[in-house]
Amino acid sequence: MTVLLSYVRFELRLLLRNPEQLLLVLAIPAGLLVFFGTVDVLPDPTSLPFLVPGVLSLAILSSTMTGLGIATGFQRSSLALKRLGATPLGARRLVLGKSIATGTVVALQLAVLGAIGATLGWRPETTGIPAALLAASLGGLACAGIGIGVAGRLRAEMTLAALNALYLVLLLASGFVLDTVHLPRLVGTVIEVSPATAMTSALRDALSGATVDGRDWMVLASWAVAAPLLAARTFRWDAD
């Protein structure tokens, strides 16, 4: 337990000290929330029940896929993961430690962004919070699987480029702040089976008191199982 706690503390210190990470996981989602929550520049629906869950979903994507993936890529290329794997920490506690550290950052994000949303006037349906937490957990797991899957195979620089590109595409296309009904039909169909879109949709439904669509649960559960499993099977601890 001491070993795991020492590692979690170390990971969290590094995460919270990194300005690029903070920009990605907190400043961008908070900026989007404040901007779109106060300036009426988008067509409907841009109300807070639409906007806040979308930004929460974006924040989870930032931490779990982009932040975790890029950091893991650079840790792998610097052989830091390989070196840690040779200590009593071992691979399992290393993964668990990273999960706890990332989960802590996500909880912090949700608290800060939820507070900003509340300040702007957002009032979520409290009965939907358990479903929202489940959707956030499944979505986070799926996105982490994608991030680590990319980081476990590509060079760090390629991981950086690929995950940032994917982040940008999903930011624009996954319904975080723009409704997916505006997308071309084929693109919309593909994007709807992405975990980011399903997570956003599930959070919106749950936090507005509606029943979460069964298809969203199915998409989230499938990604949450498949992405981490595939990442675990293909991950290389060494640099290429």
Partner: protein, 308 residues
């Protein structure tokens, strides 16, 4: 069967590498590696780039599986018993191995904690001359400072077995002296210390035993006392021979591997060649080369590699 004499010892807690073969896909990185690293000694692993040193050491560390042969570390299998060996093992990678943004102090403290806090991190920082750099991130350290931090992390375990890859690389003279002293002290504490290095002059100063790799095979292992004693006439024969009957004529005959035999009691070529004539005349062996030793590890290794 190897072309050199593997040191024999009874201690089951030594590091013993026996006929190891390692493949990456269709490429064979190590064809046949055999050597022993004793407790309380520094064993230098030398040889050209791509000779199989790193792959073999990584297998000893538990990072790689072997396709044939076996490895025993402290009586345990490095792969199967990795969880039991990890707390007792110190590893220094040749490069990197540390989060680029992590600071010196927090990294040493983490590794000490991971190894059960058997070593005081502040003491370790002081011993490696890193105390004044405690708040500096890894990526802002010089090459020599990074080397010393990597070595500090290997010592955080207070290891029973340590694998150090190029520990004196990029170090200035003062830092080399510190590292030599740390490596010697580690062996003195009873640990098995395996050092992969290209710096033969350094190895000559801290090693007790030397293993030579070439083209995926171990081609020799010898004690440094042999090198230090090292002078004598060396003869290279085209095949193994029974040297017992020569001993009475020309004194000790030492198998140095790769066909080389050394007669430390002799300093002139003539009597040695004369003593070998009966073997040549009966076709039991042919003399390929004869040298009078200049001594020193480098010339010793070059001879074993067939480049002397």
């Amino acid at each position: 069967m190897h072309a050199y004499a593997v040191p024999v010892a009874d201690d089951p807690l030594d590091l013993v590498v026996s006929s190891v073969r390692i493949r990456y896909g269709t490429t064979v990185a190590v064809h046949d590696a055999t050597f022993r690293a004793r407790r309380g000694e520094v064993t230098a692993v030398v040889g050209p780039n791509g000779a199989g040193k790193t792959s073999t050491i990584e297998a000893c560390e538990g990072f790689r599986t072997v396709d044939a042969g076996s490895i025993s570390v402290l009586g345990l299998d490095p792969r199967r018993d990795r969880a039991r060996l990890a707390p007792r093992t110190g590893v220094m990678l040749q490069q990197g191995g540390i989060y680029p943004t992590a600071r010196v102090g927090e990294t040493v403290r983490l590794f000490c904690a991971l190894h059960g806090s058997v070593v005081d991190p502040d003491d370790l920082l002081g011993r490696l001359g890193l105390a004044s750099l405690a708040s500096r991130p890894w990526r802002r350290l010089s090459g020599g400072e990074q080397q010393r931090l990597s070595l500090a992390l290997a010592l955080a375990a207070r290891p029973d077995v340590a694998f150090l890859d190029e520990p004196t690389n990029a170090l200035d003279l003062d830092a080399r002296a510190v590292v030599r002293s740390v490596v010697r002290n580690l062996a003195s504490s009873g640990a098995i210390v395996v050092v992969a290095t290209h710096e033969l002059a350094e190895a000559e100063r801290f090693a007790d035993s030397v293993v030579v790799f070439d083209r995926g095979r171990t081609v020799g292992q010898f004690g440094m006392d042999e090198v230090r004693r090292g002078d004598g006439v060396r003869v290279r024969l085209d095949r193994p021979v029974d040297t017992s009957r020569l001993v009475g004529v020309i004194g000790d005959v030492i198998d140095e591997g790769n066909g080389w035999w050394r007669m430390p009691a002799r300093s002139e070529v003539g009597p040695v060649v004369a003593a070998l004539q009966p073997l040549v005349a009966t076709g039991e062996a042919a003399i390929l080369d004869v040298t009078v030793s200049a001594g020193g590890l480098e010339s010793h290794v070059q001879r074993i590699l067939g480049r002397g």
